[in-house]
Amino acid sequence: MKQILIFILNIIFSIFVLQHVCSAQSVDLRILYLNDFHGFAAPHQTAGNQEKLGGIAFLAAEANRLRQDRPALLLAAGDMLQGNPWANLFEGKSTIEIMNRMEFSAMTTGNHEFDYGQDVLQKRIHDARFPFLAANIQGLTGIQSYVIKEIAGLKVAIIGLTTEDTPVTTHPKNVKGLKFLPATETAKRTINELRNQSDLVIVLSHLGLPADVQLAKTVTGIDLIVGGHSHTRVEKPMKIEDTLIVQAWEHGKVLGVLDLTIQDKKILHYDGRLSLIKPDKNKVAPLILEIVNGYQKQTDAILGEVMGIALVDLQGKNSRFQETNLGNLIADILREETKADLAILNGGGIRSDILKGDIRMKDLFAVLPFTNHPVILKVSGQDIKDIFEYGVSDPDQTGGRFPQVSGITVSFNPAHPAGRKVTGIKIGNHDLLMDAYYTLVTNDFLAAGGDGYTIFKKIMENKDKDSAQSSRVILFDSGRDIRDMVSDYIKGEKMISAKVEGRIQKEK
């Protein structure tokens, strides 16, 4: 009888011990996140908004404060290194220095991280004291598929995913030799590998929110997606199936904060928000501010450097009314760089003159304040005729559509009826052939139909039978903007001259 009693007591004790061992205590974890920073280090105003937001030194102060409450990971969901002179002039090095100082835990590799080319990207990966992730990119040394972080007794797996569109949204040479695998399949495979090694699976995604939602619906085993690419202001975490999805807008205007309570590999509780970042001299991280200001000083110095000398006044302000020598110069550079048959720019995009004498980078920012990139299209002779019928048809010539061109001569008579104003077109020295095809380079603004150029919209919509892509788009985004092309030309040539040559001839 005594033995039976001891046996029963032993069983009860064993069950108690097993229960205690199996149900680990809950753990609180904080995820801080940022995406699509694009080098916006200083507070800035956006279109239609009077208030300045952002500023990485203020964001860092907020991150430091939030890290004191509970164990935290600081994650970046891509497109951190490119997009603003503060970052571009240093090929992303300035951003990495800030991220190192802020002690980021991991970063996914955004499509714009490739814009400086693979050699520069590898240098930035080398500079970083945190891993660059992308499970669906093969062929780039230094990029990891995932990382497992041990924090507060938890093993947190963080998997990077990058948009599969990267090869068509940057210059082909930037992704030469790399393979971009389907994100969903890659996620499934990697999660299978990691699920048993980790307590929490996070996908650090640069796919865009719609693709993140799709991923959450189709792939099981993801606890959290920290996203980027679509620049979405997800104020409260979204819950799709068993997966939470967050994203922190853009340009460091907010810091994402997600508090998790985790037990037995499950999220018991979550609470998330976006913390709006505004400049406040009492809430600033001084060491980060020092780095921001140091690079800003260098940026100002570079913008003030003499790049070349204008041998004549380069007149751009009149570009929305008539052919100008500065309009010709910019169109010539664009055509030469892209090897297109002809170039067309909207006169309204050229905003200032460069007077005879020193040319500084800041002068170029005044002339070309918009960050536009070249778009190369295959156009027919009839398309070209239609483009110029519209381009010279503005009765008061104030709308910005007046064309600045290279590789083409156009004559027109403003007194003729609409649609018959163009009286002659030559491509180089040859008459335009209506049924021939030519390569035309313009900027992304006109390509999207800006300034009313609906003809470009129609050209872009012309699709291949077997593809969703336009058959007429030869290159959409090289990852290099037109201002950079012009500045490189000026730095190379040094002595700059241009003249009005009668490329657009108005008959009286």
Binding site: D36, H38, T46, A47, G48, N49, G83, T163, D165, V168, T169, G208, L209, P210, A211, V213, H229, S230, H231, T232, R233, V234, E235, M238, Q247, W249, E250, H251, D444, F445, A448, G449, G450, G452, K457, M460, E461, A468, Q469, S470, V473, F476, D477
Partner: protein, 63 residues
């Protein structure tokens, strides 16, 4: 790709952004007057946000 802005279909190419969609729809000037773009889940999206085939966006006037 095809997206919808204010229920109107727009055909764009891969790589184009919210900003390009607004220009194509001749609605960019509304942004300067204080309007904002929202996705189909009601989240605000930035002008440089990437687009994805089949997505729906709405331009709304905000205070």
């Amino acid at each position: 790709m095809r997206i919808w802005l204010n229920e109107q279909p727009l055909d764009l190419i891969t790589g184009m952004k919210i900003r390009d969609a607004l220009i194509q729809a001749d609605l960019f000037q509304d942004i300067e007057k204080g309007s904002r773009v929202f996705d189909e889940w009601g989240n605000e999206v930035g002008l440089d946000g990437a687009l994805q085939d089949g997505c729906r966006y709405t331009l709304k006037k905000t205070d």
